[in-house]
Symmetry: C2
Subunit: 279 residues, 2 copies
């Protein structure tokens, strides 16, 4: 685990690391913000999953979340959105597949299966590393994300009852099996057997899960990807049909950018803090 | 004036523009954040001047200032730190001279004099454009900045009594005539006659001004440029000798980055709001 940089921020410490991931069989980057409370005791942890093209940096630079993490005594963890620089043919050909577009799944199709195991990385390997190396409470984790990372956070929370205390998302891809981003990614990483796709689709999971974890979602009404890719109405319908608790907040005039995230990040930190800090 | 992008942020609007600057004889970029209050009435304006290499973007993306600008009903304006892409020989040779390093002065030496008129641009031309095109109170402006931009803000406020209601800085270059950054820049832009340099040196200005505008300065103790370039002790000595009001806050463990700025940006917005919103 190589420390790349460390900065003091809102009384706490933000560190960027590079390490060899066992499940991804390659070097991966992640970042940890420890609030000032971590200097004296173990703190809960909140994982943030970024969207297409992002690295572990974007959220830490742009969201403004650390101020609220410091106020509430919560650690923040981000990770890169895929392996990079592996020399796999086509890995850098497009913004929505390969590098920067791991889609938080375990690839089964070649040539991706060896390295694109982002689901296991985020759900299992990275939390173990975090809990072993930082003053983190092992029984208090939550997860949230943006766009492709919103998809990741929602599916991981729904598929792992008890692992995360709460989940939320900004402009998530709720039905990747029903839009061009998801169809391209799932075809490439999972192959053409669509029965393998549903395990990574929030709307499909909602139809089949007994896990009634409430969902908090913010979605900008001026999001340039709203109609073609994000389709929150599909999630609304699935939640209504299955009596799944959903708080979808349509935010007037906001787009898909980190400016949108930063405008509502305080609400999300307050929301997660309520779960993370309860006994 | 060409609108490059617009995003909703904390209830207000952040816009990036490109325009033809008369004083710089070239295209320049600037950004304006209008708080929600600007939808119904004119608001005060706070100018932020960035440091070496930055554009009008860095502060708007990284500082988190818009949240507090929205709370207090203050517009924020940033501008690029120099002209760019002019084809001047050597303009892109180093990070601390030419592009991204205008040093907020009016160049008199060739080949810079025609375009590097950042002092007049920030003090005169840009405020006129802002006041003509946005719902801005013409009698309520303040200014602050970081590093090279802290130098710019302090010198502009000291040289223009009554123009700015308040001034503050993060890790400012307070004595450019006494460090390598400033000596390189002033030699190149102003020539070797050192008598021309003092008009752009905060410590020198403090010795000679009757303008007793108070200075609020935050400086990280772990700033990598502290000893060789920033030298706040020179400002402390000059202020003590001339009974100039200075609130220098040495912030334990903070460095020179925007993480440092974002940690104390709320304090600066609150400070300026007090002046900007008084009658």
């Amino acid at each position: 685990m190589e420390l790349k940089s460390k900065n003091k921020l809102h009384g706490g410490e933000l560190s960027f690391y590079q390490h060899l991931s066992k499940v991804n069989n390659c070097s991966m980057g992640f970042a940890v913000y420890l609030p000032p409370q971590a200097q004296t005791h173990q703190v809960p942890v909140l994982y943030f999953l970024s969207g297409l093209t992002c690295t572990e940096e974007n959220f830490m630079i742009k969201s403004g979340a650390q101020k609220y993490a410091a106020e509430h005594g919560i650690a923040l963890v981000t990770m890169d959105t895929s392996p990079r620089n592996l020399g796999i043919e086509g890995e850098d050909d497009s913004y929505d597949f390969g590098s920067g577009a791991g889609f938080y799944l375990n690839a089964t199709a070649e040539p991706w299966a060896k390295n694109y195991q982002m689901y296991d990385y985020v759900v299992h390997e990275l939390p173990e590393i975090i809990e072993q190396n930082f003053p983190i409470q092992t029984n208090s984790s939550s997860i949230f994300g943006h766009s492709m990372g919103g998809h990741g956070a929602l599916t991981m929370a729904l598929k792992n009852p008890g692992k995360y205390r709460s989940v939320s998302a900004f402009a998530p891809i709720v039905a990747p099996t029903q839009n061009d981003w998801g169809i391209k990614a799932f075809s490439g990483y999972l192959g053409e057997d669509r029965s393998q796709w549903e395990q990574y689709d929030t709307v499909e999971l909602i139809k089949n899960t007994q896990n009634k974890m409430p969902l908090l979602i913010d979605q900008g009404t001026d999001d340039e990807f709203l109609e073609a890719y994000l389709k929150p109405e599909l999630l609304v319908a699935a939640c209504e049909a299955n009596q799944h608790p959903l708080n979808l907040r349509m935010q007037q005039g906001y787009d898909h950018s980190y400016y949108f995230i930063s405008s509502f990040i305080e609400d999300h930190l307050v929301y997660h803090a309520k779960y993370l800090k309860s006994d």
